[in-house]
Symmetry: C2
Subunit: 411 residues, 2 copies
Amino acid sequence: MRAEIIAVGSELLLGQITNTNATFISARLAEIGIDVYYHTVVGDNPDRLKKAIGIAQKRADLIVFSGGLGPTKDDLTKETIAVILETYLENNVDALNSIEDYFLRANRIMTENNKKQALILADSFVLKNHHGMAPGMALEKNGLQYILLPGPPHELEPMFEKEAIPYLLGALGKQEVIVSRVLKFYGVGEAELEDRVQGILLRQSNPTVAPLSSQDAVILRLTAKANSTDEAVKMIAPVEKEIRNLVDEFIFGTDDDTLSSKAAELLKKSQLTIAAAESLTAGLFLSELASEPGISSSLKGGVVVYNEEVKVEQLGIPQSLLDEYGVISSECAEALAVKVKQKFGSDIGIGLTGAAGPSPHDGKPVGTVWIGIALQNGEVSTFKLDLSGNRNTNRRRASQYALYYLIKELK
Amino acid sequence: MRAEIIAVGSELLLGQITNTNATFISARLAEIGIDVYYHTVVGDNPDRLKKAIGIAQKRADLIVFSGGLGPTKDDLTKETIAVILETYLENNVDALNSIEDYFLRANRIMTENNKKQALILADSFVLKNHHGMAPGMALEKNGLQYILLPGPPHELEPMFEKEAIPYLLGALGKQEVIVSRVLKFYGVGEAELEDRVQGILLRQSNPTVAPLSSQDAVILRLTAKANSTDEAVKMIAPVEKEIRNLVDEFIFGTDDDTLSSKAAELLKKSQLTIAAAESLTAGLFLSELASEPGISSSLKGGVVVYNEEVKVEQLGIPQSLLDEYGVISSECAEALAVKVKQKFGSDIGIGLTGAAGPSPHDGKPVGTVWIGIALQNGEVSTFKLDLSGNRNTNRRRASQYALYYLIKELK
């Protein structure tokens, strides 16, 4: 099955927004073995949309549309498709109810325009929208599959995964379900990880194992196709185990976990409190932890000790220690962790010091970072990083590594 | 002139990367009055690329290509265009020199493959690449304009602005230069801003005035076309003045300014030092300031006082004040600002307290935030926000508003 994705919207052609929907849809179609041959973007113009559809009909078996399902006069994707397919739009009771429900929940008044959104292509299958008003649609005509999706990514993405993918699997005659499991790594580069699990990557077929890289983690996505969710889960388990046998030390979480959510979860579970003394990160570590709801029972607070005199005055780091070992040292990171733990009466103390850049600091090259972790039993560990980014990627990575080492200690 | 942008690259069709190049090129073309009618994405496949070009030739006067100019066998944009246009590739001495220079500068060894990148379409105009090896090309054939650009955005963007735009203006017979000036706003919504400057927006032509919205600011981009840079700058000045007369109170900076860079600049200029006590933002405000290089002479540090007892113990906020007014109050924000200024011996103190969400806090609804600013002369101001985002957009906006109010005080 060859697919084409047509995004409809003049704002895309004006460069006001980026076509991230095509990226998302392409990645999900690749997972179920559908090849995407073209992306097309066309404006809110019925003639040009008609021509684009005409071209796609000749070169694709599946056309996925995004955008143009809204309530305004500019939204004309389904109207244009109705003309081309020589069919008509009809009111869909479920869709109308769902739109009315949406307005009730949002406590807003429904306008006549919104009723337009309850119109669907005759004989189409409704793709439910749990995050907005416009229902999606799927239909087959003359051997071609058409999928219509709303433009906003937070509506399109769950609709595509939960409604369109099962529809497509059915259309492909596959009695299949797709189950994905994401393993999240830190402290290891994508190339090194691929190298270490290469044997598994090479013989992958079902489940597939795809390495992905994001800003804050390296990811392996395991995707199994099976006749039932249970079966798919059972197919993924041994592959996950095999991967864990090779590289478990770098896995900090799964699926929707982030470094901060995992650290917050483990802190809550262990009923331990934490405080931090931050130099180069200047509050970034604590702020990341505080992004997690319900952290207040674990997070006491901390100090930002940006320059040397503040470290001495506010935390009581001995000036002699700084003179002997320097501000960027294992000894300073340890002292920051121990002192902030004492000062805030927390179970765990974290210390962060380093040279973020752009210039070397206290004789240490840009990217040198020391992290200290003082535990409730009195033990203190320190970790050294040699980062190679710019000022702000170094600061961010230092904060993320501190979360990663914290997770390892809490496990 | 009708334009089409064709991005070449299988990784786009696999959903591994997003076509941000089309967004960038579209926005720049809109500025010089060229309408983009279609974006197309096609894989590294010569047959399908040929077909895509054939379609574009029928519906566009200008085709802009991105990607496929690299050294590998998969890179075949210029080779395919050569076949279609019945022309040939020739070695370009300047391009080869520039590639050799690049390898010298990068201290890397040049391979035979890289010489392929010095081949350009016969009779084409070379678009210089100052950030990579592949030169771009521009040529006219049978009344159509073809522009070829490398895929990596950090190479494509400067090449398009500095090389392709002047070429296009020349091709359009315009002896013009384009100059843009960006005004950055905070504390005002895009809709309200547009409403207040509507008179200017409506009669805009040269300079054009385009409202843009980004995560952290509302932006007006003024773009003038003129015969010289001087003339363009002179055309922008009165329009900027007129805008400032209407909404100057919301303008925090221009061009590349961010809230944190502007705050850091004003702190340095005034030689004032700063400290902050952060509750809901938990270090985010200080971390934003610390993202600016050279901030260490201004930024003393601060405390993260996440829960009530820490506010009392670490900063000496009177328990009676918290009991009387609550943690989320003008009084608490003021006390945080004053106390942290005293404790750190800084000229300015900032206090941040509020209910980030997801649940109300201390009887205050989600999104209620108080910001306190204590100045060197003993004056203290407090500001209330009623934010409507989720936990982390509220935390981020609170931090950004604190920077914005700080900028206003420093001005």
